[in-house]
Amino acid sequence: MNQEPLWLPLAEVIPGTPLAADLADGEGQLLLTAGSRLDAHRLQQLARQGIATVPVPPPPPPPTPEEMARREGEARLRMERRFAHAGHGQASRALFQVLLRRQLEMP
């Protein structure tokens, strides 16, 4: 399903976000093609070129509770494998939780 891109002010774009559509300046000159990654350097370049907003992918619809439970189970299993040699120290377990939460919060 193709969704309309969301036009975000440059300051709100998270570096690394891909462009959801081609981006042109006020005179119609193509600046970047859809799919280009908006890293910090590019965002600064665009600001210097007078670009105020850019098209980014719209947020995905919220997952269902079943989908969330399935994702968490998969992420936990994968993380358990990554931490198989990390032991059971307090710091290792706390890092496990931080990385698991980060992975679950990723789009």
């Binding site: 890293d39 198989a84 040699h85 990390a86 120290g89 706390a94 990385l99």
Partner: protein, 287 residues
Amino acid sequence: MSPQACPPPPDRDTVAARIAALPSLPSVAAELLSGDAIEELDVAPLARRIAADQVLAARALRVANSPFYGMPGMVGSIQEAIVVLGFRAVRSLVISAAAVQALASLKPGRNFSPRTFWRHSVGTAVAARHLAMLSGRNAEAAFTAGLLHDIGQLVLCVAFPRHYAAVLTRSQGHELPLVAAELEYLGLTHAEAGAMLATRWGLPQSMREAIALHHQPDEARADSLVDLTHVANVLAHGLEFSTPLEEPVPPLSDTAWNRLNIDWARLAPTLDQIANEFEDTLHALLA
């Protein structure tokens, strides 16, 4: 490779001789390492000598201009970098760039992926710098220590390619942790080999210690670079910068973590910053 097909572990003299045959650091980097009180000297002549090594200066300036330092495209010369970033930051940048220059041309043996190696090394460097800022320590030294913490892997792989191919075969299947496989086939670890190269290069004691003890931080002093390097190494594995050949996450020392005195709540947003800066820094150092 089966243990039978692998030559017996080398003795210490052979290890030392092979390490002595590895490239030296570019001379200007050695000069930068020669004194701790160098900030007090007139830096202009030194800046000119750095700039005279064009490849080295270009590499250092690429990092200075990466988003990592928050001034992309604004630093035009080594002299300017010293004014904008400070001499300590430039010294660390030049030493890091010099180490990459000395090591990147080496041809490692079978099974060893330079791409995986440098991705993990740069990821650790960026993580170490952020951890240092969170814990109020020397961010520039932390970056260099993070970048160089695993140089022993490259040393062993170049100096003992058949042994190291066997080490990697055992550890990449997750049969055995890397350090245990190194001890089995070579009788020494990459941390020890890295510290030997660091000594040969004249790196400061704090850097040698960070390389030697990054898997055993509990043996180090509380205020050393070891804790930062150890935690950064674990984070870099956790953030999977070296996928698909990522090693399992090693144990995170409670002692090292507690000594850094960083809140877990402050680490989470920092992980995103580390991940965001990683690719740009990798490109700047290795392009």
